[in-house]
């Protein structure tokens, strides 16, 4: 892989973004940050990331689902449809409990789902898989 993969972190907690940014930079990733879904969509268009780490709950609403839907279905974002989305949440205990992974909501199904706080080894492994397949 010749290009350093870019990860966009969309999360409204600045401390969570700071720790994940440091982790990713130490492992050679480039990091973009957005503190709201709206800013996230703008960042996607400005500086297309290779993968998006997206919090479901921002400002007490399930904004993450709306962003996923926009990225997958809105015409303005057609060029970014293939960017893998890793959804994260501290509310649901496991991916199996998650609304996002239930069969009825195929439209907003992320490529992967992780709970917060992130299990670092699992997270890095997932990122390697996701970014390498995206670059093949």
């Amino acid at each position: 892989m010749s290009v350093v993969p870019k990860v966009l972190i969309v999360d409204d907690d600045q401390d969570f973004r700071a720790s994940v940014r440091a982790l990713l930079e130490s492992h050679g990733y480039r990091v973009l940050e957005a503190e709201s879904g709206h800013e996230g969509l703008r960042k996607v268009a400005d500086d297309t990331p290779d993968v998006i780490l997206l919090d479901i709950m921002m400002e007490s609403s399930v904004e993450g689902y709306g962003i996923t839907h926009s990225l997958r279905y809105r015409d303005e974002f057609a060029a970014y449809r293939g960017i893998p989305i890793i959804m994260v949440s501290s509310i649901e205990k496991s991916p199996d409990d998650s609304y996002a992974m239930s069969p009825e909501v195929e439209m907003i199904r992320p490529d992967a789902y992780l709970t917060k706080p992130l299990d670092i080894d699992k997270f890095l492994k997932l990122l390697r898989e996701v970014t390498s397949s995206a670059h093949v």
Partner: protein, 375 residues
């Protein structure tokens, strides 16, 4: 005249044709939508289809008895009101019907007004039950929302702290993290302190909500209370370059709970410092008027946009905009202020101008000498 769609429906089940006809006439005249059936089986089918608010049923019918009909109607919808008509008005049959869940009974023969009266009372009863149920549902929803909100409010900082520590552990002596370690530890401590404040305020709020709290009527000298709070906030205020001033008349005492009064003004003064600007001031004033002490806590800060004022005293409400993005808070402080003020028989209001400041006004019952004599 109400439209047919809004009309309440009544189902009448009676094997006697004349009785069905007279019930229909009487009740239709009162504006009800009436359907009649000649036996229990057809009647139940009608109840399931028409979803009436009230059913009038004859106790003594061939085939399915009135008592059995009562049980089956309630199996369809327990909120349907049942009025029983009984040919032999003995206490026994009536009592049995009531035990089975009937609302009331009407002995034959009856006057039209007797039927109307009992039916109207039945609908009144139904309305009260349904409204009560609605209230219960709303309460349960509110409670669930509260729990979800609290868990999210605590979950978020816990995750942030946990993630910092995990990453610190993972990176070990990595040069990238050396410079960050101190800042991160500082941030972790800040987040933990914020959680502690939130838990403390949450407990205070539930203490105020629980009975028996804030009921004591002590003589609380505001000069002493405010001086104590100013002393506690002096370092904060100096760091923020905000001056603290008070102008309280002598004998400025309120009748209230000492702890509640302290919590109330602690919150208001903390906010007045927090949402102020360098070079600004916080002014606490008071006047005694017709048995009340009216206290004002004024700041020269960022002010509150008018659209947020109606929600300002709600639990967990926080103004989120550019002006407040670097402040933290649980969103409970003013909710607590409103609760304790109300508990002490007072009122709290706010006036504000964006970029000029806010004035919180509290009125509390003044302390009277005779209260101390009575005590």
């Amino acid at each position: 005249m109400s439209s047919p769609a809004e009309r309440e429906t009544i189902v009448v089940i009676d094997d006697d044709y004349a009785m069905r006809l007279s019930c229909r006439k009487i009740l239709e005249k009162s504006g009800f939508n009436v359907e009649t059936f000649e036996d229990g089986v057809q009647g139940l089918e009608g109840v399931a289809r028409l979803k009436p608010g009230l059913v009038v049923v004859d106790l003594k019918m061939p085939g399915m008895s009135g008592l059995e009909v009562i049980g089956r109607v309630h199996a369809i919808d327990p909120d349907i009101i049942l009025v029983v008509i009984t040919g032999y008005a003995t206490i026994d049959t009536a009592v049995e019907a009531m035990k089975t869940g009937a609302y009331d009974f009407l002995p034959k023969p009856f006057a039209p007004d007797e039927l109307r009266l009992i039916v109207n009372r039945g609908f009144e009863r139904r309305r009260l039950v349904l409204e009560g149920r609605q209230y219960e549902v709303e309460r349960a929803l509110l409670k669930r929302r509260f729990i979800t909100f609290v868990s999210h409010q605590l979950q978020t900082p816990l995750v942030a702290v946990h993630q910092y520590l995990d990453v610190l552990k993972h990176l070990g002596d990595h040069p990238d993290v050396a410079e960050k370690r101190e800042e991160w530890i500082h941030r972790c401590l800040q987040r933990i302190e914020a959680m502690q404040v939130m838990v403390k305020e949450w407990l205070e709020l539930s203490a105020v909500e629980s009975e028996g709290f804030a009921r004591s009527r002590d003589r609380v000298d505001l000069k002493v209370v405010i001086a104590d709070i100013f002393a506690a906030y002096q370092p904060h205020a100096e760091a923020a370059q905000v001056s603290l001033e008070s102008d309280l008349p002598d004998g400025c005492s309120v009748a209230g709970d000492r702890h509640c009064v302290a919590v109330l003004f602690d919150n208001l003064i903390a906010n007045a410092v927090k949402y102020n600007r360098p070079g600004g001031k916080v002014t606490v004033g008071a006047e005694i008027q017709s048995g009340e002490v009216r206290i004002s806590v004024a700041d020269t800060g960022i002010g509150i946009p008018e659209k947020y004022i109606p929600f300002l005293f709600d639990e967990f409400f926080r103004v989120r905009d550019e002006a407040t993005r670097n402040t933290s808070g649980s969103g409970l402080g003013l909710a607590i202020c409103r609760k304790v003020t109300a508990e002490m028989g007072g009122q709290i209001t706010v006036e504000s101008k964006v970029e000029e400041g806010s004035v919180f006004r509290v009125s509390l019952p003044a302390w009277r000498q005779k209260e101390s004599n009575a005590a």
